[in-house]
Amino acid sequence: MELFSEFIKNTGYYLVAADLRYLIMITVGILFCYLSIAKRYEPLLLLPIGFGVIIGNIPFFKGFGLGIYEDNSVLHYLYFGVTTGLYPSIVFLGLGAMTDFTSMLSRPKLMLLGAAAQMGIYFTLLSALALGFTPREAGSIAIIGGADGPTSIFLTAKLAPHLIGSVAIAAYSYMALIPIIQPPIMRLLTTEKERCIHMPEDDRVVSRKELLFFPIVGTLLCCFLAPASIPLLGPFFFGNLMKVSGVVDRLAKTASSSIIDTATIFLGFTVGASTQADYFLKPESLKIFFLGAVAFSIATASGVTFAKIMNLFLEKKINPLLGAAGVSAVPGSAREVHLVGQKADPSNYLLMHAMACNASGVIGSAICAGILWSFMM
């Protein structure tokens, strides 16, 4: 009877009664799974994260080597890829092998919108410092404005590992909530007439040689500028070179399918599991969520505003909605720009132009991560 009683005391049912925070987090995990399956909100990310949240919040007896924060546990080993920045690098390799830069190379001026949308990062850096976060924590929170999950995780792992769970959940949540966050900001900052601006279909044909040169030029320029971004941009451009070279199709295909999928599964699952209630449910997490929303909104607004400023000087006006795609949430923000543009004028096709800004945003946010990391070294 005593043995049975001891067993009962070790079950999750008994332990959860002592700390209801776990139940809250399990509910959040179920909500994420629901949103990914029923609403199809970023399912590739939210489903592994959501299930990870459920797994990570099943209460257990500390010291058994089960939890993600306990040495020698399986979850701890899997989490190693997050804390070292390994998974984000692998994800970037696959991302590079999936990215088509044709659209960006044919419209280089749209790259500037990718730079402008990174202003949300620096605004949030100031806000986080003002709220009392340390510079390293502020840098980790600010990168949420880049709207790039792997970049956020990478930088947080380097600067403030204790915030990985909160930052990752905030980053991925806001990426999933793009259809809710971005359109009102876009509509608020643009007039109906501006939203109807058509973009030229094809500025020029991009040659294969240009596509081959770009990853090399991009690596040299960006990595020399911010060497701390090498772990992200190095694999990114390498993946792209494999894709465009056409001589290692097998490798490019593997990088853009099996490798990125494997890394995404473990990244999402372990980040979800890292949101253990006793580590995650703190007032700081709420502040991080608030700042993340601010970062994301400012990033969108600064991209749109910059596009409007560019229009003051350009003879051929660009659609300012494209500025919102300067955040690196690929391809969610590009899709949203396209949809908002189509609502204003159904014959307006902005998707390819928005993808150009998106691709530039990925590079921009990785550079920002490198810059922030080097500032805090």
Partner: protein, 139 residues
């Protein structure tokens, strides 16, 4: 020992050098992407320039050989065609077998060598000799 109070607001930003970090960071990323944008806007011109240069160097030996192009060889005027074919076959000497002529046409990737030879024969530009060889009609 009393807990140190966390500094907040503008004071915290100033203390942690936040203004400088934000301004410098923003400037670096904008400059970086602007330079990259400028470079890729010129990339196709650089590639075109390099390709033209390469083309010129490969074209030079061709000029030395003064090999006519297909359009030049097969003009609408049969006499002109015969004249051009004659230039290509100078290495054969005054008299030659038709199979040697065919080999040269084939080597130069001229289309339809059989038809061309037949037409040149029927038009009288290729004159048969009694020894089974041919020579060009004087043009």
């Amino acid at each position: 020992m009393p807990e140190m109070e966390t500094i907040k607001g503008i004071e915290a930003i100033t203390m942690h050098n936040g203004w400088a970090m934000a301004v410098t960071g923003a400037m670096i990323v904008i400059t970086g992407l602007s330079v990259l944008s400028f470079i890729i806007s010129k990339l196709h011109k650089v590639i075109a320039f390099l390709e033209n240069k390469q083309k010129k160097t490969t074209e030079e030996p061709a000029t030395k050989n003064s090999q006519p192009t297909l359009a030049e060889i097969f003009s609408d005027d049969p006499g002109e065609t015969a004249r051009n074919c004659q230039i290509l076959t100078t290495e054969l000497g005054n008299s030659f077998e038709l199979c040697s002529l065919f080999s040269i046409f084939h080597r130069h990737n001229l289309p339809h060598p059989h038809i061309t030879i037949r037409n040149l024969r029927s038009a009288g530009f290729l004159v048969p000799q009694k020894d089974g060889k041919f020579h060009w009609k004087s043009l």
